[in-house]
């Protein structure tokens, strides 16, 4: 075998190594999707029917995939034992109060098992361990929902028929009444508008006449006040003249203090003297 085998072998082994590397990547990728490389928590639950359950179906918490269904077994008591694999990193979200249900997003997506998180046990030391059992709650499947909708269809249709009949009878009558009411309201509004237009003209005349009268009265009153003021002034000067006359001074008794040469102001005649209560003449 003297032919050159080395380059061929090198090519062969390098391409074979590439194939092995690609295969390893495939296995790694498949394992990552299936949690082969993570530590898993094994939980289980029991149910009366394996309908919609399938090995390998996703297990989600809050819509996020955290594991898969590992095994489904039919027990001797006709119950179904379902074993789940959940990533150990999500272990803290699952607790004694968690519930497992079969859920489906939309009508055509694949169903999955939804586990409700037990947030009350965050920080609690009472952790679930592998082999623990979850509580399974049956969720209504599509057939049940359709059946319920079908059963409620007849009463709903009857109610809609009755409502339609009622509307058919009552609505035209109500519309007539409403039409008449609206016509009456329109007539009333027109009448009020006319009356207001008529009454506002006479009212405006009366108000202007009253205003004129009031202005005249005020001017007259002002003139009267001026006359009263001048009359008071002349009366005051007359009284002063009378008080200074000799006839009045003769009639006054002796010992009477002489009159103030200056006449008091209009306010001082009414004001009592200081130190003499009640306005009585003060004596020495």
């Amino acid at each position: 075998m003297g032919h050159p085998r080395r380059p061929l072998d090198l090519e062969h082994w390098s391409l074979l190594s590439g194939a092995a590397a690609l295969l390893s990547l495939l296995v790694l990728g498949m394992g990552a999707q299936r949690n082969w490389w993570n530590r898993n928590l094994e939980l289980s639950f029991r149910t009366y029917s394996a309908a919609r359950l399938q090995e390998g179906m996703a297990v989600k918490i809050s819509g996020h995939p955290v594991g898969r269904v590992q095994r489904i077994r039919l027990l001797n008591d006709a119950q179904v034992h379902v074993t789940l694999e959940i990533a150990a990193s999500r272990e803290s979200l699952v607790g004694r109060r968690s519930r497992a249900t079969v859920t489906q997003d939309g009508l055509i997506n694949r169903p999955y098992i939804a586990i409700s998180p037990d947030l009350n046990r965050l920080g609690n030391r009472d952790r679930l361990s592998s082999g623990d059992t979850l509580i399974f709650e049956n969720s209504p499947d599509l057939a049940t929902i359709i059946k319920e909708v079908a059963s409620s269809r007849v009463p709903l249709q009857q109610m809609i028929t009755r409502a339609a009949g009622l509307v058919e009878r009552r609505v035209p009558r109500s519309l007539d009444q409403l039409d008449r009411t609206l016509g009456s309201g329109e007539r009333l509004a027109n009448l009020l508008e006319r009356e207001v237009a008529q009454g506002s003209g006479s009212l405006q005349g009366r108000v202007s006449r009253a205003t004129d009268n009031l202005e005249q009265t005020l001017s007259t009153l002002q003139t009267t006040l001026v006359e009263i003021q001048s009359l008071a002034r002349s009366s005051n000067s007359l009284l002063q003249g009378i008080r200074r006359s000799w006839l009045i001074q003769l009639l006054e008794p002796a010992g009477t203090p002489p009159l103030n040469p200056t006449p008091p102001g209009p306010g001082s005649a009414m004001k009592p003297a200081a130190g003499c209560p009640g306005g009585a003449p003060c004596r020495d």
Binding site: M1, H3, E11, L16, A19, L22, M30, Q33
Partner: protein, 208 residues
């Protein structure tokens, strides 16, 4: 000379990758075109699973057509030797041919994934590749590897046998090659049909 009869070279890898890419792209075009499937990721996963199922046949046929003439010639040269000698040669060739065939499979699947990602992109390329790899069924991959190794061993046996048979009967090498190819294809298709019919559909048919 005998050792050079089968080899994993760039030509074989290129053929396998071309086959994988064209199969995957063809399935996707079929599903998204005439069949009007619009869920790109589902279409890609379906195309990839189908490619993985058909990959052993494709790899075996590529091996048969590329290495068949050399193997038939080797068989005719070994015709003068006793049966035990042929068996030993078969073992030597099998040690190379079967890993070669199995090594072509990852190249074919990788090309199928990349072409699926490029034909109907839905996410960014790396995320989509990870999604496709994650959705590849492990049972299908293992079965594809098993079938590929089995088919490669059968091709090797048939071609060596036909070469030896032709030498014994003084037939032309081309006649032996033609007979080896037809017998191999018939046997491979028959075995693949048996795999599909007898094994659990969840394993052989890709229904997960």
């Amino acid at each position: 000379m005998a050792r050079q009869a089968t080899r994993l070279d760039r030509g074989l890898v290129g053929l396998a990758m071309l086959a994988g890419a064209s199969m995957s792209m063809g399935f996707i075009q079929l599903l998204a075109g005439p069949l009007e499937q619009v869920a790109n990721l589902s279409v890609q996963v379906l195309a990839l699973q189908t490619t993985a199922m058909a990959a052993p046949l494709v790899v075996s046929l590529v091996l048969l057509l590329r290495e068949g003439p050399a193997l038939v010639a080797l068989g005719s040269r070994l015709a003068q030797r006793p049966q035990a000698w042929l068996l030993r040669r078969w073992r030597q060739q099998a040690v190379r041919l079967i890993p070669t065939a199995m090594g072509l499979l990852p190249y074919l699947l990788a090309a199928a994934m990349v072409s699926a990602t490029l034909t109907k992109p839905e996410l960014n390329t790396l995320t989509e590749l990870r999604f496709l790899v994650g959705n590849l069924n492990p049972e299908i991959l293992v079965l594809a590897l098993v079938k590929t190794s089995l088919f490669a061993g059968l091709i090797l046996w048939i071609t060596l046998q036909q070469g030896r048979h032709a030498q014994t009967l003084q037939l032309a090498a081309s006649a032996a090659l033609s007979r080896a190819i037809s017998v191999s294809i018939a046997l491979l298709l028959g075995l693949d049909l048996i795999f599909v019919l007898l094994l659990d559909p969840s394993v052989s048919g890709g229904v997960s």
